[in-house]
């Protein structure tokens, strides 16, 4: 189970409304390499892992991704807060506003709704961990593109830089986990009959 902690993992205090940035940053909420996909991917893959390390790493990183989901949702919320209808229209958010108003709904930057295939739980520890390593790099790359797009807004830049750093640390942990499993699989196995 989880217990909610009434703080953000990293402070977010956006003073300037900017729906154009919200439209692209929402990709890290509900896009293919976003935090919703990441958290559910890891938390779903936990169940089939063969060793203690892999279970713990997926559990703990999956949990941290939920805190990142909240951070990205907060950025989108604060960037659209008090935006006028004209500003939303100008940012290309009229279709989004029609269906979701000011809620934060999981879609990609291009408006594609979240889909369960992003979760990619394959039922194979090696395939899953390779998927996770790629996922962390893809999320890092996405954050770097967002950092380019948000270059003029330090209030947005700061939490995005933090989130990018976390992808790098998670990649490191998944690499160590994969190595552990591969080393174990490569060990010599001995099968013995009962001695008479």
């Amino acid at each position: 189970m989880w217990t909610y902690n009434k703080i953000l993992q990293y402070p977010i205090n956006i003073k300037q409304t900017d729906p154009r940035l919200a439209k692209v940053i929402i990709s890290q909420y509900g896009g293919p390499d976003g935090e919703l996909a990441a958290s559910l991917r890891y938390l779903s893959q936990r169940f089939g892992m063969p060793d203690q390390t892999a279970k713990a790493v997926l559990n703990d990183i999956g949990t941290e991704e939920l805190a990142h989901l909240e951070m990205v949702g907060t950025i989108v919320h604060q960037l659209t807060k008090n935006a006028s209808i004209e500003e939303l229209e100008k940012a290309g958010l009229a279709p989004y506003y029609t269906d979701h108003g000011v809620d934060v709904y999981p879609v990609s930057a291009a408006g594609v709704p979240f889909t369960a295939s992003y979760i990619a739980a394959k039922g194979d520890p090696i395939a899953n961990l390779q998927e996770d390593l790629a996922a962390e790099q893809k999320a890092r790359a996405t954050y770097e593109k967002l950092i380019d797009l948000c270059r003029d807004n330090p209030d947005v830049l700061d939490p995005l830089k933090f989130l990018r750093q976390r992808e790098i640390v998670h990649f490191q942990r998944f690499g160590e986990t994969l190595r552990g499993i591969q080393d174990k699989l490569a060990e010599k196995k001995y099968y013995m009959n009962k001695m008479n």
């Binding site: 217990t3 909610y4 402070p11 750093q165 976390r166 640390v169 160590e176």
Partner: protein, 112 residues
């Protein structure tokens, strides 16, 4: 803590760059003490998450384990004081009045 670990100045794979450098408290904030405590709580919460993930793949690192214990103890102490004054941060904190409803929430700038 083992002797050979004592002269190590930093934990491998946790470069300083990954530790958060928190934003300065916004100017409009009236309560500096609350902001200071919150910053410390966030730093400790973060350090504990980072150490926990590190310990998952390095369970025998005595120095990391010591730090984890230290930060957990410090977090508990400061969180108890904070919640007593400014209201609960989790629903596990007992209070005489139901202060969980107090606004703003984190995404609205509360406990930032």
């Amino acid at each position: 803590m083992s002797v050979e670990n004592e002269d190590r100045t930093c934990i491998p794979c946790i470069p300083e760059a990954t530790l958060p450098t928190m934003q300065e408290a916004p100017r409009e904030c009236k309560n500096e003490k609350q902001m200071k405590m919150l910053k410390e709580i966030k730093c400790l919460e973060f350090a504990i998450v980072e150490l926990a993930e590190y310990l998952d793949t390095h369970p025998n690192d005595e120095k990391a384990l010591c730090l984890h214990n230290k930060y957990c103890k410090e977090l508990k102490e400061i969180k108890d004081i904070y919640q007593k004054i400014y209201g609960p941060l989790t629903i596990n904190y007992p209070c005489n009045k139901w202060r969980w409803l107090e606004e703003p929430w984190p995404w609205e700038g509360g406990n930032k």
